[in-house]
Amino acid sequence: MRDNTTPAGNPLTGIVFAEGERPVFGPGDKARILARSPIGHYRVPTYMRGKLCTVEKVIEPAAVDNEEEAFGRNVGSKRHYYRVAVPMSEIWPEYKGPATDGLRIEIYETWLERVST
């Protein structure tokens, strides 16, 4: 059809991205959900804080950080967020079901720290 076009996935080089424009994590990355307890509206459930997870997917497009939005600050607060996988046994050490059972949750980049493997 369009024989003379450049194939997709062949971007130009030398382009510098703005701070925060590109997601920091990618699928397969190991991370820890931070165990912070700030004051305000935070949508990271307490039972997930401090748990190890594996990034499964970058959710596109990046979205307004609802934690900032709760204070009426929308401009410039777009954040990347990720669907992460956590084994049930990581959350509940006494979990009785099969080891493959797990949980998935969306976490903003500001709540994840990289774990070297």
Binding site: P45, M48, K96, T100, D101, G102, L103, R104
Partner: protein, 211 residues
């Protein structure tokens, strides 16, 4: 919320108490907003109409289309919101939709531990049991037991994946297509898809169950 603490997922929620604190607060805030001309009664009515037009029947049509149209299914799993928009379902609340496919090896279950996030554009309002604390707490800590209480037995060699919706993403479970439905029309298929199957607490009905 404390009135709901002792409820199990199956028990009927306590009847709404007329004149309760939340109802009085809602009326007060609504009247203030209208009085200050920040919103008008027409806008409130319109939003109620939007919500009323969304029900599990829409989700059932989405599932039936995915079962009968492999191309649509690929698009639905790739980007749930965009595929639903193809069918004219708008996302008035600006949420994204991830569609989770149940297979012979994976069973998905949806919960919102923080409140009651739910794919309202496709399913309408959530059932009462979805909003009470026992379901919200137990779905993430003992999902197999919760499923058993719904009459759903998931064998140990099938992985349970619980998705906790917390922010901007909503989840819809794509149940497995029941056996014996070859040649069914979309309408016949949609009749087998219940709200609870799209939350993941049960499987889709078989032709004999719904006969």
């Amino acid at each position: 919320m404390s009135a709901h603490d002792h409820s199990s997922p199956h028990s009927e929620p306590a009847a709404p108490q007329h004149g309760g604190d939340y109802e009085i607060m809602e009326t007060a805030v609504r009247e203030l907003l209208v009085e200050k001309k920040l919103i008008g009664p027409g806008e409130i009515r319109r939003q109620i109409e939007v919500l009323d037009s969304r029900s599990p029947a829409l989700g059932a049509k989405v599932v039936a289309r995915a079962w009968n149209d492999p191309g649509f299914k690929v698009r639905l799993l790739e980007n749930g919101r965009r595929a639903c928009e193809e069918l004219g379902i708008s996302f008035y609340d600006d949420t994204q939709l991830i569609v989770l496919e149940n297979t012979a090896t994976v069973h998905n279950l949806v919960v919102c531990t923080l409140c009651s996030c739910y794919p309202r554009p496709v399913l309408g309002l959530p059932p009462d049991w979805y909003k009470v604390k026992p379901y919200r707490a137990r779905a993430v800590s003992e999902p197999r037991k919760v499923l058993e209480e719904f009459g759903t037995h998931i064998p140990d060699d099938v992985e349970i994946r619980v998705s906790d919706s917390t922010a901007l993403v909503r989840f819809l479970v794509l149940p497995m297509r029941p056996e014996g439905t070859e040649g069914y029309t979309e309408e016949q298929l949609a009749a087998l898809v219940t709200r609870d199957a799209m939350i993941g607490v049960v499987t889709a009905n078989t032709p004999t169950e719904s006969a």
